[in-house]
Amino acid sequence: MNPGDTFEPRTFAITRADLVAYAEAAGDPNPIHQDEEVARSVGLPGVIAHGMYTLGLVGRAVEEWTGGAEVVELGCKFTQPVVVPADGAAEVVVAGSVKGVADGLATLSLEVTCDGTKVLGMPKAVVRA
């Protein structure tokens, strides 16, 4: 990996069924990820994906791009909700490049969007180069 290397953007589809499976696997029963009424009652535009679902997709993209390099840092702010419709899917695009390499660690620059809107703030991944 060299600074400036750009990875092929990855597109992921998220369905309500994925959120149900994730809630079970991650132990996160928050109904805002399953129930439209509850989500709206707390001011959300509808059922939203778990922020960690979206960050999990970033983890997938990083693993694929780097051939499974060891991740030493991963994180972001969840700045915009990813609204998942009752039918069909939300599409999340994860784009990335190598920002810098130092001391055996590569810092990746990431951009994560849904319908063209950035959904993660200051996403960051650092992997062993």
């Binding site: 992921f12 589809a13 994925d18 499976a21 994730y22 079970e24 696997a25 991650a26 132990g27 996160d28 029963p29 928050n30 109904p31 805002i32 509850v38 009652s41 707390v42 001011g43 959300l44 778990h50 922020g51 960690m52 679902y53 960050l55 999990g56 997709l57 983890g59 997938r60 990083v62 693993e63 499974g68 060891e70 991740v71 030493v72 840092e73 991963l74 994180g75 972001c76 702010k77 969840f78 703030g121 960051k124």
Partner: protein, 136 residues
């Protein structure tokens, strides 16, 4: 009801130890649309299972409704990758608290340790609690 400022600096009891099994990792990976092969890498976001367990215990202890919580930020720093066979525990502390526009912004840090007590990763989370303007 706004969250009490005295929470800052408090540490909550460690979560019950959880064994990282192939079944659990495979279900987690599958829910993200990925495949887990035996002996392969555990998804880097897997420690959220531990961190979230600690968050839920903290919210329950403070009578905060989970459905009023939105995840504002999550950052993991890893000492080493999580491996199948690890028995992990999370210990959560509240590191900051501020109120913005009727919402409580709760900063937490969870230390995730293995069966030997060694640190595996640290998860820092910001939880946004939207119940700040309730009068009940």
């Amino acid at each position: 009801m706004p969250v009490d400022q005295s929470l800052v600096g408090r540490e909550f009891p460690p979560t019950a130890p959880l064994e990282v099994t192939e079944e659990r990792v495979a279900a987690f990976a599958a829910s993200l649309g990925a495949r887990y092969d035996a002996g392969g890498a555990v998804p880097p976001t897997y420690p959220i299972v531990l961190a979230f367990d600690a968050m839920q215990a903290f919210l329950a202890a403070e009578d905060i409704d989970l459905f009023r919580i939105v995840h504002g930020e999550q950052r993991f720093a890893y000492e080493r990758p999580v491996r199948v066979g690890d028995v992990l525990t999370a210990t959560l502390g509240v590191v900051s608290l501020r109120q913005i526009g009727g919402a409580d912004i709760i900063g937490t840090s969870s230390a995730i340790t293995d069966g030997d007590g060694a640190l595996v990763c640290t998860g820092r989370a910001t939880l946004v609690h939207s119940g700040g303007q309730e009068t009940s």
